[in-house]
Amino acid sequence: MPDQTLPADLYPAIEPYESGMFPVGDGHELYYELCGNPKGKPVVFLHGGPGSGSQPEHRRFFDPKRYRILVFDQRGCGRSKPIASIENNTTQHLIRDIEALREKLGVKRWVVFGGSWGSTLGLAYAMAHPEACTALVLRGIWLCRKADLQWWLYSVRSIFTEYWDDFANYLPPDQRGDILENYFKLLVHPDPAVHMPAAANWKTYESRIASLIPKAGAEKSQSPRTLAMSRIEAHYMRNAVFLPENALIEAVPRFRHVPGVIVHGRYDVICPAENAIALSRAWPEAQLTMVPDAGHSAMEPGIRSALVAASDRFAELD
């Protein structure tokens, strides 16, 4: 008998029973993997970024005895190909990809689980395909409204002043008024000597501000994966994630009947808590858990625990 007084934690590390590449057109091929119980309840994990790619830890939010767990890398990132491509890479493409994967796997409906950008994509997917969603588990809500971009690009300076300075001061002073456009120019520059250090600097900024206590060694190496994360993020940001302002909040009536859990850290400095509370106000049927001592990261203890508890709850749902 598990001790019911202990907070829920991640399930043990597991390996996929199936993995592969799945062509989705436009020259893109997605890496996907299936873990857990092949006859279990289907769940799809949507990673963040956009462009962060999946990690083996992402399998561990779900009971492998009860869930059939799909983890995949979105266009251009992780092990998907071509790496770091922003051609035909929009929110609408990603929604179509999720549907293509669902059909390929013969899944009728699944639990949709995503954090950070994964919450944005989860909401956008539920807006387009509510009938395919058994439940939604969303963490570190990012609605990507103008104010949210402004926050990430500028307001974070109030709290992580020195990290923001490292981020912004990478650009010459006359370019800091438009951090996004000027970083984007560097990130899409053909010369690796230009795009790689810019990508590492962008990602370092984000990693340093992601948890309540900044992690030592959050500095990112200059790797294709880092380039993919930074370039794809900047690409989505400068296109306002290809959604009209406030589209996700306005879409709530389309999926409000789907059981939902919203988990957010009070001191999420990447996606401030107002995102979660705005969503919760529009969608009062969903359960909001505001973790008082957590930042953005899914691995913050209180967040991790609330996410596993939510996935456990929905494992029994029809």
């Binding site: 709290i159 002043t161 020195e162 401030p272 509370i277």
Partner: protein, 318 residues
């Protein structure tokens, strides 16, 4: 949370060996008290708010064997009279009061320790009377710039939209573009049925955004102390702390030779840490102690320890 070393506790509770009142003109009389060693090194504690008044606990940052510890209630605050009065109550008056108290007690120079508004006042005092300061210990730096006021009154909506709604929600929707004025109208209304609920709502917001974790106790009990602090805070905010924009940072040049320690919690939400970085840049001679994972509150162990260590260090200074 800051590190693995055990956190130090405050010095034991002590009683003052001297208390008194000092008329400072304009109808104001200040309450003051002296504790610790009557022959010790003089130290002055400046309370926050403005208007919060002193607490016995504030004696305990200083070694009572080595320090002659002076606490006083600023105009209109605590046991000073008339309570809550805004007449002749400005930063410049408070600076003059500190000088009057110093002369009254026959003190040539003192260590000045202040947090939150106490840091603002300490910096204003040091700018005006650097020769009277042996050392400065400032915590939870609040520079009273327009951006600091905007952050407090509006910006915190991003982090604490739930608390902020209650704060702004005390006003009519059409008043929310100028929350400070809306509150001023109510706080200054002679009818207790109008001013007391406003005072409670103002103070509750201020208290709730000052700690990392939610506090169980009632943040703002009804009564004259809550009324005084809310009225005085609102009055100072409304008048931009009676400081020119950037005045405190410009004043550093007059006291930079005074030994200084700047202590700030990363998750200080009411006085965001960029104020501490701005001060440290203007005053590189001072030591900046950045406490990760802690807030504006002196109850946080790392903040408390940094204050104790700074006070101890300066106890032996000539």
């Amino acid at each position: 949370m800051p590190d693995t070393s055990p956190s130090r506790d405050l010095y034991p509770a002590i009683e003052p060996h001297e208390t008194g009142t000092l008329p400072v003109g304009d109808g104001h009389t200040l309450y003051y008290e002296v504790s610790g060693n009557p022959k010790g090194k003089p130290a002055l504690f400046l309370h926050g708010g403005p208007g919060s008044g002193t607490q016995p606990l504030q004696r305990r940052f200083f070694d009572p064997k080595r320090y002659r510890i002076v606490l006083f209630d600023q105009r209109g605050a605590g046991q000073s009279t008339p309570p809550g009065s805004l007449e002749a109550n400005t930063t410049q008056h408070l600076v003059a009061d500190i000088e009057a108290l110093r002369r009254h007690l026959g003190i040539a120079r003192w260590v000045v320790l202040g947090g939150s508004w106490g840091s603002t006042l300490a910096l204003a005092y040091a700018g005006a009377h650097p020769e009277a300061c042996t050392a400065l210990v400032v915590r939870g730096i609040w520079l009273g710039r327009k951006r600091d006021i905007d952050w407090w009154i509006y910006g915190l909506n991003r982090i604490y939209p739930d608390y902020w709604e209650e704060f702004a929600g005390h006003l009519h929707p059409w008043e929310r573009d100028d929350i400070v004025e809306g509150y001023a109208r109510r706080l200054l209304d002679p009818d207790p049925k109008v001013h007391m609920p406003a005072a409670i709502a103002w103070r509750a917001f201020d208290q709730r955004v000052s700690t990392l974790l939610p506090q169980p106790s009632d943040p703002a009990p009804p009564g004259p102390r809550t009324l005084a602090v809310s009225r005085i805070e609102n009055h100072y905010v409304r008048n931009l702390a009676f400081l020119g924009e950037g005045e405190l940072l410009r004043g550093v040049g007059r006291f930079r030779q005074v030994p200084g320690v700047i202590i700030h919690g990363r998750y200080d939400m009411i006085a965001p840490i960029d104020g501490a970085f701005a001060l440290a840049r203007a005053w590189p001679e001072a030591e900046l102690v950045l406490v990760e994972g802690e807030s504006h509150s002196t109850s946080d162990p790392g903040i408390r320890q940094a204050m104790l260590e700074a006070a101890d260090r300066f106890a032996d200074l000539a």
